[in-house]
């Protein structure tokens, strides 16, 4: 074995160890925690809230993100590049900044929030705010994936559909959408994962209230200061969810249709 091969092997093992060690450490430490901790009221509340808000946010993302992804894949307008940059913005924005930005927009004193407040709609520090924060940060992940999926669908298929009498909308539903399915599902998984892990924007915009806005990552943070066992249980649960996400990612249909 030459020196370079040795270095490659060593770094491979080191990187795997660097990632796995903390994960395994959580799983080992959690084995000392009494299983009853799992069923404690605030842990269960955080799990329920996280599953509910992340799923609702993903649903919203699919509803608003799919037409945008299709537009980005098909439009030749110069405005398209502009829209693309805007859509990607939340991905590079620090989550805490996203939280402040959401407060500045939708907070009680926010530029839109003050009108909403006078209409009786208060968003910050509610469960709705959690969903808004998650949608804000996870949307680009879905749009990017779905856009790549639509871009991979040959326009000839759509042209064929038009000549067969299908409207643009029918063509979208029956041809473009099914052919982009793999990328769309991958986008759903990624954005759901991002929503599940959301911390910074949520704590800023929605606060940290048990049962209302305290999602699992926020609960880990809170528990760390009073009860390490509880934090470990929640962390272990999030690790399990992450493994489940990776597994789901693997079974997504990877098959790409060649022009037939």
């Amino acid at each position: 074995m030459n020196a370079f091969a040795l270095i490659r092997t060593f770094t491979g093992v080191a990187v795997a160890g660097f990632i796995l060690l903390p994960v395994i450490a959580v799983l080992i430490s959690v084995s000392d925690v009494s299983p009853g901790m799992l069923l404690s009221e605030d842990v269960m509340a955080a799990v329920r809230l996280s599953l509910f808000t992340a799923t609702l946010a993903t649903l919203l993302i699919v509803i608003i993100g799919t037409p945008v992804a299709y537009l980005l894949a098909r439009s030749s307008s110069p405005l398209r590049r502009f829209l693309e940059v805007i859509i990607n913005l939340p991905m590079v924005l620090p989550p805490a900044v996203a939280g402040i930005a959401l407060l500045a927009a939708f907070g009680r004193e926010g530029i839109l929030g003050r009108y909403l407040a006078s209409a009786g709609i208060i968003l910050p520090f509610t469960t709705a705010a959690v969903v808004i924060a998650q949608t804000f940060v996870a949307l680009p992940l879905y749009v990017r994936s779905a856009r790549a999926g639509f871009a991979g669908v040959s326009r000839t298929f759509e042209g064929a559909s038009y000549t067969l009498g299908a409207s643009e909308f029918t063509t979208f539903l029956r041809v473009s959408l099914p052919l982009a399915k793999g990328a769309i599902i991958a986008g759903v998984i990624m954005s759901w994962a991002r929503a599940m892990g959301e911390f910074g924007a949520t704590i800023m915009f929605a606060g940290n209230f048990v049962g209302r806005t305290q999602t699992m990552p926020l609960a880990v943070y809170s528990a760390l200061q009073v009860n390490m066992g509880k934090a470990l249980v929640l962390a272990a649960l999030l690790i399990l969810i992450s493994f489940f996400i990776l597994f789901a990612f693997e079974i997504v249909p990877k098959r790409r249709y060649a022009d037939a």
Binding site: G159, A160, T163, L164, G165, A166, A258, D259, A260
Partner: protein, 233 residues
């Protein structure tokens, strides 16, 4: 049946075509980049000309000055694409049924018409096959069946045999000729192969550099050399 005069400008290229079609099969012969595919797509409504008009039967499908541009969905034109463009996620039956389904026909009627055309084109055995499982000739027939099942007024074929090897090509070409003769449907076939044109068409138009150079019956054009691809240069 079809009457058109269109102009379409591209960077460094200008397509300017006048064409009249009766109840006949016309071959549009030309080399790559001569504008023949664009002409076909303009007739189908997939490409919008800059100027001119396109009349299909009694309907004005396109007129630049009158601002008329009927979408491809409403032109009742069957189109067989060079890539065939069979929907890869649908099986043979679903591919052929697609045009009838989007018209909202009843399941019974769709079944009847799809079965009839599958029978006629020898596709009955392939009903549940996916496009990726078919041979080149079989794909060709499915694409033809899909275009014909909606009973179009006019059939357009864009390089329909280019994906086939030489032997399959001859076989499929004869099948297509027989089908077109039997159905007596007017058709335009775009090809760069003189043999395709000579065997299939009642009349040949040669397109070169975006313009129609000559219009002759097949026998009067260049003598066919068996197996040799006709080149204009």
């Amino acid at each position: 049946m079809l009457d058109l005069s269109i102009t379409k400008r591209f960077p460094g290229f200008r397509l300017n075509v006048q064409l009249k079609l009766g109840r006949e099969i016309l071959a549009l012969l030309g080399e790559n980049g001569s504008g023949k595919s664009t002409t076909l797509k303009a007739i189908a409504g997939l490409v919008t000309p800059d100027e001119g008009y396109i009349r299909i039967g009694n309907t004005l499908a396109f007129h630049s000055e009158l601002g008329i541009n009927i979408p491809p969905q409403k032109r009742s034109i069957g189109f067989v694409f060079q890539e065939l463009a069979l929907f890869p996620h649908l099986n043979v039956y679903e591919n052929i049924a697609f045009g009838l389904k989007v018209r909202g026909y009843s399941r019974a009627r769709i079944g009847e018409e799809v079965n009839a055309i599958m029978q006629a084109l020898g596709l009955a055995e392939l009903r549940y096959h996916m496009p990726c499982e078919l041979s080149g000739g079989q794909k060709q027939r499915v694409a033809l069946a899909r275009a014909l099942v909606t009973k179009p007024r006019l059939l357009l074929l864009d390089e329909p045999f280019s994906a086939l090897d030489l032997r399959t090509r001859q076989e499929v070409r004869e099948q297509v000729r027989d089908i077109l003769k039997t159905l007596n449907i007017p058709a335009i076939i775009v090809t760069h192969d003189y043999e395709d044109a000579a065997i299939l068409a009642d009349r040949i138009c040669v397109l070169s550099n975006g313009r129609i150079k000559s219009q002759k019956p097949p026998s009067a054009t260049m003598p066919p050399l068996p197996g040799v691809v006709y080149s204009l240069s």
